[in-house]
């Protein structure tokens, strides 16, 4: 067992750390304050091959593995969880299902768009009455000749108002329950596609979240992803991979908060010495560091297993659950170390704490992760 990153993974981390320091960090506060999609940086990430990095070269990607993707999301999220989220969604929830379940024609058409074509991807599963219970979706797609007619709406869609390509789940046979759900590739230019309400969120302000509405939306028959009735299985499989991305994002947030707090407490003098010298601070740091290390091992393990093609459902859920809860704990404790300053917008701690919260909720709440883990324990 070798715990060292490969030479390539080390270089990817170095490149992403440089990019994050030079390009992401300087605009992270402004991105949050102005609820501004970091378009220029996303364009640069396309140029660098980070967007869609696991897509094979023949379809325009770099042919990297899931571990490389996790490292990129982790590094970006150290300074800006919104940027990490945009990349995680694009890579894990749009490129990945098309690559895994798409026909050759679909891969040839859509994967180059999502890599060299600089088109952003999104994933539409959640509905107002179908959150954790995704099987209760109401969006329908009816086959009429050479196309499906899609009706319904999806909420909380990451990249919603900037994306061009959407992986959408809709009922093709309501009588069959989850076996009646199918997956589709939908372009924002299709007739009947529209963007609804832009969500105002507690955190992740740079990540554009919106409602997506389908009104007699015409989806060509050849845009069915996988077979009819396989949508639920495609969604669950996609979310397994997506959870590695969220684990990496949460890990990055925790590591970023830890680094900020270390720097601050070394310089903040109270009662005659830097507060980093107090045992209470040091013990808190020890717990933060321990959690980051454990979270990193869980996340990288799940990513490597995905790359090896073995089942990793439980491992991805464990990584996501552990890292998201650790991100929440770490940002809360790190903010506390900053005292009153941490509560102000002059420091990044309050942003990091707001951003961390969502990682315990989306792509399966912590409660859902516990369901997934225990369901895979032979109980």
């Amino acid at each position: 067992m070798d715990f060292n990153l490969s030479r390539e993974h080390q270089l990817i981390r170095k490149m992403m750390a440089d990019f994050t320091e030079n390009e992401v960090k300087p605009i992270a506060a402004e991105t949050d304050k102005e609820t501004k999609y970091p378009r220029e940086n996303i364009e640069k990430l396309f140029d660098l091959g980070v967007m869609g990095l696991c897509v094979p070269k023949e379809y325009g990607g770099a042919g990297a593995d899931p571990l490389a993707s996790a490292i990129c999301i982790e590094e970006l999220s150290k300074q800006c969880a919104s940027t990490g989220d945009i990349v995680a969604t694009h890579n894990g929830l749009c490129c990945d299902p098309i690559l895994t379940h798409g026909t050759e024609e679909q891969k040839k058409k859509y994967l180059p768009m999502l890599t060299t074509g600089h088109k952003v991807g999104a994933f539409c599963l959640t509905e107002p009455n179908a959150g954790s219970d995704a099987s209760k979706g109401q969006t329908e797609a009816k086959l009429e000749g050479d196309h499906y007619v899609m009706n319904g709406s999806k909420i909380f869609i990451t990249n919603g108002y900037v994306a061009d390509v959407f992986v959408v789940f809709a009922m093709t046979d309501k009588s069959k329950g989850t076996k009646g759900i199918s997956a589709f590739i939908v372009e924002s230019s299709f007739p009947g596609f529209s963007v609804g309400k832009h969500e105002e969120k507690m955190g992740l302000h740079g990540s554009p979240t919106a409602e997506i509405v389908f009104t007699d939306c015409i989806v060509p028959k050849e845009n069915l992803l996988g077979r009819e009735g396989k949508g639920f299985s495609i969604a669950m499989q996609t979310l397994d991979g997506g959870r590695i991305g969220i684990a990496a994002q949460a890990l990055g947030i925790a590591e970023g908060a830890l680094a900020e707090a270390k720097e601050y407490t070394k310089g903040r003098v109270q009662f005659g010495k830097p507060i980093s010298k107090f045992q209470n601070t040091q013990f808190t740091f020890a717990d933060m560091e321990l959690g980051c290390e454990a979270g990193r091992l869980l996340t990288y393990q799940a990513a490597v297993m995905k790359g090896q093609g073995v089942r990793y459902t439980k491992e991805a859920a464990m990584a996501k659950l552990f890292c998201s809860e650790h991100a929440m704990k770490t940002t809360t404790k790190a903010l506390q170390m900053f005292g009153g300053y941490g509560y102000t917008k002059d420091y990044p701690m309050e942003r990091m704490m707001r951003d961390a919260k969502i990682t315990e909720i989306y792509e399966g709440t912590s409660e859902v992760q516990r369901i997934v883990i225990s369901a895979n324990m032979g109980l």
Partner: protein, 266 residues
């Protein structure tokens, strides 16, 4: 046509500078980076490659770990790399280093259309001597302080940035240019570039590989071939904290004048 880029691994001076008891730099304990001006030279070479499809070869002299820096240059888009490394080359000053690098560039081969690009100077020694010496030893015309480079056929038009203005020079290839940070913003390594970096050729030129070049002689390379002797290097004592006078009015000027008077400066 090709561009040969000479780059150097230097201590990262943004971290702590460590000095050995004998006064030399403790390089082993310091983080290393690619010399910043050399990154500008590499970016300039890659821009020529983007425009013309030419080959870019990076070359460095240094210990074995410098290969890591060369891989980073390959991940940015260079095509081939050469590590010049041998015990005999150790301890070389700027004169001896330029002998060895010129021999290495000779071995790579400089043809009619080629350009050799380098950074102006390295942040460790700050001499700015090695690259002009390489040009002299290769018999190439050289243009230093390049802030803009335009290649047109077998001529290169270079805008030199000087202290008091710009100077534009047209030079025939093959030639050697030294680049400054104003020239460009170096690109990042790309994911695809990183994944391909270890597949690209990286040659090592040791003493055996270069010994037949007339520039390589026991009296012109390594510590023995170096006319420079360093007596001592040290970290200068830190200056005291200055006094900042706020404001721009007459009162501030008077305050400043009083301080200068009290110190018998005026």
């Amino acid at each position: 046509m090709k561009v040969i880029v000479s780059i150097k691994q230097v201590p990262d001076t943004s971290g702590k500078v460590a000095v050995n008891p004998d006064g030399t730099l403790n390089r082993a304990s310091m983080q290393t980076i690619t010399n910043p001006d050399d990154m500008n030279a590499l970016e300039a070479a890659l821009k020529v490659k983007d425009a013309t499809g030419c080959k870019v070869i990076v070359v460095t002299m240094g210990p074995a770990p410098a290969a890591g820096m060369l891989r980073e240059a390959l991940a940015m888009g260079a095509d081939e790399a050469v590590l010049v490394s041998a015990r005999e080359f150790g301890g070389s000053d700027t004169y001896a280093t330029s002998q060895i690098l010129a021999a290495a560039i000779n071995k790579i081969g400089v043809e009619k259309d080629d350009i050799v690009m380098c950074g102006r100077q390295a942040i460790d020694g700050d001499t700015a001597q090695v690259r002009p010496q390489i040009a002299e030893k290769l018999g190439l015309p050289q243009v230093t302080y390049a802030a803009d480079i335009k290649k047109d056929g077998d001529t290169v038009t270079v805008q030199r940035m000087l202290e008091d203005g710009y100077m534009t020079i047209k030079v025939q290839t093959p030639c050697l240019l030294t680049c400054i940070k104003e020239l460009n913003n170096p690109r990042y390594m790309s994911i695809g570039g990183i994944l391909g970096a270890y597949e690209k050729p990286l040659d090592t030129f040791d003493y055996e590989a270069l010994k037949d070049d007339p520039l390589i002689d026991a009296s012109t390379i390594g510590l023995k071939g170096s006319p420079t002797n360093i007596f001592k290097s040290f970290t200068p004592p830190q200056k005291g904290v200055g006094v900042m006078l706020e404001g721009s009015g007459k009162e501030t000027c008077e305050e400043l004048a009083n301080i200068l008077v009290s110190k018998h400066i005026i």
